[in-house]
């Protein structure tokens, strides 16, 4: 269980996140829905300790707030950052290897590629030539290689057309079914059926009531 307790993030005079609390359990998908600037990225970055924040983050019984992203990664909390954030000058293969290596993984990248067949022909291309959809797949695959218990996907649907969106959802659902706890952010997220277990609307740094 990943539990956020009263997380507040401030940038100078601007309060990006105002005492937000949330519980994410393994094997579920939670969505934080809100427009640009509502505080989604700040929340995810606060969880992994990439921005200074107030409040507590608990992983099971351990207090993990204000640690470094490297620490959170070892604990199994992995971020797929907003805008993909690939290493443009590295090849697709190397981007994947990075995901494996930072987590201390020893396996091969082949296993992950089963989920992402479209990356196979791109393995030796530098990542900056990838299209938006391909880049998002690579970012997800890279995060999967870090063997997450909790996956925080920041705006994974941004700038994608219908086909790639479907595919991103499918991968998130597969991961959930394998027991990963997933937190997805986005704008006007609409899904069919029972994909999402928890849906929060965020506005001006706080969750709106309802839903």
């Amino acid at each position: 269980m990943l539990k956020l307790d009263q997380i507040t993030v401030q940038y100078g005079a601007l309060t990006a996140l105002n005492a937000v609390s949330l519980v994410i359990t393994e094997g579920t998908i939670s969505v934080i829905d809100g427009h640009h600037g509502a505080g989604k990225s700040s929340l995810l970055k606060a969880i992994i300790g990439a921005v200074p924040s107030k409040g507590n983050v608990w992983l099971d019984q351990h207090l993990i707030s204000q640690r470094s992203p490297a620490y959170l990664l070892q604990a199994g909390v992995v971020l797929v950052p907003e805008g993909r954030q690939l290493f443009g000058r590295l090849s697709t293969r190397e981007n994947l290897q990075f995901g494996l290596y930072v987590a201390g993984g020893r396996g091969s990248i082949e296993a992950a590629l089963e989920y992402f067949p479209q990356l196979l022909p791109l393995l030796d291309k530098p990542a900056y030539v990838l299209s938006g959809g391909q880049a998002q797949m690579l970012a997800m695959a890279r995060a999967m290689l870090a063997n997450p218990r909790y996956l925080l996907a920041d705006e994974p649907l941004m700038g994608l057309s219908e086909g790639p969106r479907e595919q991103v959802w499918q991968i998130l659902i597969d991961l959930r079914d394998r027991g990963v706890g997933i937190l997805v952010t986005g704008e006007h997220i609409v899904t069919k059926g029972t994909v999402i277990q928890q849906h929060k609307i965020i506005n001006n740094g706080s969750f709106e009531l309802g839903e």
Partner: protein, 217 residues
């Protein structure tokens, strides 16, 4: 009259903008909406000269600006604001506003705008001491001081509460003037309806698509 014709831009082989055209008459108020990542920011950056398009033309009153540097756009009367507001943190607000209003006429206009906005008390403060709603107003004033031809606002609602945004909208409506055309890139539809007279939606790979009944573009 300000126009973008057939603007195209790609980054690293990926088309971000494809054949975008847009014409603004003096005083026209246009809203642009669209999901994150469809290229709204890229469009603003091109329209204000901060990025050079791969193809297409930019014209203001029959003068071609396409290959001019960004400062020439600003001097020609194309002003903008930034998503997170942009000020120098080491000078007080008053000095920075004065820097934007160099002609005597602009100075008079600036003084008037400052009065109307209630910013007098903040003039001697540094930007990091001023609350965000005030800074947003200040940024608009900075843009309006020189009576620009076009003013671009990049996501002015970010970080404002509904109440603050309302006030901001009222302030804009009252002070834009007849001549200045306005382009707002925004996702808050209520705010957009309040200050614009037409809205277009930017869609992935499809450019600007009309939205609403009374579209004039």
């Amino acid at each position: 009259m300000y126009s973008l014709q057939g603007i195209g831009k790609s980054f690293g082989g990926i088309d971000v903008l494809r054949d975008i055209s847009l014409t603004l008459k003096p005083g026209q108020r246009l809203g642009i909406t669209g999901a994150n990542g469809v290229g709204k920011s890229t469009l603003i950056n091109i329209a204000t000269g901060f990025l050079k398009p791969d193809s297409g033309h930019i014209q203001l009153n029959n003068k071609t600006l396409t290959h001019q540097p960004a400062w020439a756009f600003a001097q020609a009367g194309i002003q903008r604001t930034f998503q997170n507001t942009r000020f120098l943190t080491t000078a007080n607000l008053g000095e920075q506003l004065l820097l934007a209003a160099r002609a005597p006429e602009s100075k008079r206009r600036l003084t008037k705008l400052i009065e109307l906005s209630g910013l007098q008390a903040s003039l001697h403060l540094f930007p990091d001491e001023i609350p965000l709603p005030m800074l947003r107003k200040a940024e608009v004033i900075r843009g309006l001081a020189a009576s620009p031809e076009v003013l671009f606002l990049d996501e002015p609602s970010a970080g404002l509460t509904t109440f603050e945004l309302d006030q901001f909208g009222v302030f804009l409506q009252q002070n834009l003037g007849q001549k200045t055309a306005l382009v707002v890139v925004e996702h808050r539809f209520d705010f957009m309806l309040m200050i614009t007279d037409s809205v277009v939606e930017m869609q992935l790979n499809r450019g600007l698509v009309k939205r609403g009944a009374d579209v004039k573009t």
